[in-house]
């Protein structure tokens, strides 16, 4: 158990509304990641963080922003949700060492109507 929680676990919202998803870790890991998972696409990286206030874009970052004001929390924000952002969102942390092993939270299922 890597001590990762995500909230909320499920959310239904309407197009055009802002949405924030939270990832919380208890083990002080430096690197944190946000992915989305869609059928036929595996997991795709949205944004990642390599420390407090240090973030960078992944391969599908358009329409998303992130913030990390403290080590344990990494927030993903959809400024104006669209139906194409309906997906399951996973947060992950990277364990120490050079193997780049990542451990995932339980996910948030987001539906944008």
């Amino acid at each position: 158990d890597a001590g990762i929680t995500q909230s909320p676990r499920h959310k239904v919202t309407e197009t055009g509304t802002p949405v924030t998803l939270r990832c919380h870790q208890t083990e002080n890991h430096r690197y944190m990641y946000w992915y989305r998972q869609d059928p036929g696409h595996g997991l795709r990286l949205i944004h990642y963080s390599y420390g407090v206030k240090d973030t960078d874009k992944g391969e599908v970052s358009d329409g998303y922003s992130v913030s990390r004001s403290k080590t344990e929390d990494f927030l993903l924000t959809l400024e104006s949700a669209t139906s194409s952002q309906t997906s399951v969102y996973f947060c992950a942390i990277r364990s120490g060492g050079s193997r780049n092993e990542q451990f995932f939270g339980p996910g948030t299922r987001l539906t944008v109507l």
Binding site: G40, G42, L45, F90, N100, E101, Q102, P106, G107
Partner: protein, 114 residues
């Protein structure tokens, strides 16, 4: 752009059969991970391979890393219904300023029928 291709995408077999899932990349890996995911949960790390030609075993699962570090396979012997799930491979290219970013394959959905 790195591409990681998994095959097959779907596999439905009877309990007791053997199967192999393949993962192929357009570039050389620094490391490769295999994950298993059950419905409603996050992926769970099964194994990491880093050395060309490396073979790792986890009970009835055998993971192999190609000599050229561009491909990997997962072989399950005598599959059981509990093996049902989505299997994902993910590669890391490492390198300078290693950010730990992973590229995931599309996944293989395995169904093992009793």
């Amino acid at each position: 752009t790195q591409l990681l291709e998994q095959s097959p995408q779907f596999l439905s077999i009877q309990e007791g059969e053997n199967l192999t899932v393949y993962c192929n990349s357009s570039s050389v890996f620094s490391s490769l991970q295999w994950y298993r995911q059950e419905p409603g949960e996050g992926p769970v790390l099964l194994v990491t391979v880093v050395t060309g030609g490396e073979v790792k075993k986890l009970k009835r699962l055998t993971f192999q890393f190609g000599d050229a570090r561009k491909d990997s396979s997962l072989h399950i012997t005598a599959a059981q219904p509990g093996d049902t799930g989505l299997y994902l491979c993910a590669e890391s290219t490492g390198g300078s300023g290693n950010t730990g970013k992973l590229i995931f394959g599309q996944g293989t959905t395995l169904q093992v029928k009793p």
